[in-house]
Amino acid sequence: MISSTIGIWNYWIVFCLMMIGLFLVIGRKNFLKKIVGLTIFQTSVFLLYITFGKIKGGTPPILNESIDSIYSNPLPHVLILTAIVVGVATTALGLSLVLKINKEYGSIEEDDISAQDLVDYHDDIETRKSVDLKFKQ
């Protein structure tokens, strides 16, 4: 009974962690915070996989001499090894984009940047219209 309660508790907290990570990604407007959120989100998903792979009283999946030892499931471990490396690749690319954005815009807040972009966008269209008009005359 106690063990099953704690077991469910683990699942639930892992789900909460995932959603906190997801919230940081889609709720926050700071570009660096979004990447941090993504890291939290992905790490929590890793926890879910590894939790599946656990066997009570099992040992790490490295073969030993004793015949009757139970090994935890190696497959989730392999998948998560892959996913961790994919995660760090995403983080690195995201950070380099944030650096470039900060250099070009002088800010990494989404509100600020979309305001600048909006000005740019109308600016482009309007000035070009006037240039075209001049050309016609």
């Binding site: 998903v45 879910l48 998948l79 892959t82 470039k100 815009y105």
Partner: protein, 496 residues
Amino acid sequence: MIDILTKNLPILVVLCPLITSLFVVLIPNIFFSWILTTLSTFLTFLFSILLYQEIQIQSHISYALGKWMPPIGIEYIIDKVAIIPIIIISGISFIATIFAYKMIPDEIEKKSISKVYSLWLLAIAGLLGLVTTGDAFNLFVFLEISSLASVALVAMGAQKDKQALVAAYNYLIIGAVGATLYVIGVGLLYGITGTLNMEDLTNRISDLNNNKALIAGFGFMIIGIMVKAALFPLHIWLPRAYAYAPSAVSVLLAATATKASLYILARILFSVFENSENLINNTLLYVILPLSIIAMFAGTIMAIYEKDIKRLLAHSSVAQIGYITLAFAIGTKASIAAGFIHMFNHAMIKGGLFIAITSLGFFIQKRVTINNLSGLGRAMPITFFCFVLCSLSLAGLPLTAGFISKLYLIKATISSDAIWIAILILISSALSVVYLWKMIEVMWMREGRKIVVKENPTIYISLIIITFFNVYFGLDASLVVNGSFEAAEKLIGDLK
């Protein structure tokens, strides 16, 4: 030698661009890296044609990687369904690579060109790996290869316009969230079945009806793929990414990227979960059908009000994706076939339109807005002519490829007693004429600057090829139509 080739065709299609990308990055010379890239994409196209012939004989090829029998090892599955996106991706990427010869050195700084070609090949390889794999987790890995490479390619547009960086960033974050949601879904399914192989998964979930984890896992997988396929409310990354990417990259992405994800969507819906009919029917009816109809209209209306042409085409892509998912949502054999036909034709149409528009941008050296277009049609007759043909194809006028896909789509809706959907499709097509006419009118009728433009053969040869196919498949569509019907039959079998 020939033996080895035919035996390993499924993997060679993916491996060819993948391995070449590792070498291209080391070549400092612009010309040679382009040559190698072209050769590699050409070989890939050749392999996929050979694969097409092979599939006519065998109809289902399973390739066990590392000689470990599935479901223990990873498996590549090629059947009559998978061959459609393979041909689309490899064919379009070959044409886009020819187009890239002039465009990439124009927009990207010399030092990073070999890296860009390497990323270019990686993006193609990722998409091809995505559609060939028969393993749910391997799909994620290739999804990430293609999305990281395409994000970097989009970001390379920053040398012309800094907004490319924000576009790339959003593409990366939204894409990564989508991929992670997909991984959660796969994880839940793996937790209750213990397998990752798609065919094995199909068998093992058949006796798990109404399992809550099954439903949740399915939901997360579908949401993740819908993000990648840019289905309506999740499409926000698409217009900006396509609009600010370097020209050649826009062509490649617009014509191929979402097609791969749409194919995965179809495969998950109709093949992996074929045994949980209730779940699928509800999803199709209550989620995908309404979203596709909204996408059809929202995309078209956004396109009508858009002034930036590349963005306009991207919005129109959202609408076209709506047509394809609508076809899937109706869920009969005829409609799914229509979906595949449109997938194929849309790749050609959008590829052609983007090539035409970006080559206009190349000559005026500015962002292509509706006002900048004035008079360009007269200055560049060949490009303009091809642009008009592709536009007609998009609007669905007879004798073009677009007509064929609309025809089969409407036939399918009528035969499944959904006349109102057929009417909605017609209205939306009529609306798309508005924005297409607007562009053509400005280009031809309006006076513009008197620029003398020498149209460059390396640019318009790819445009002519793609326009030719647009017309050819409008006149003789039997190849596409037969292939699509065979695919649909393979997907949903004799059920309906």
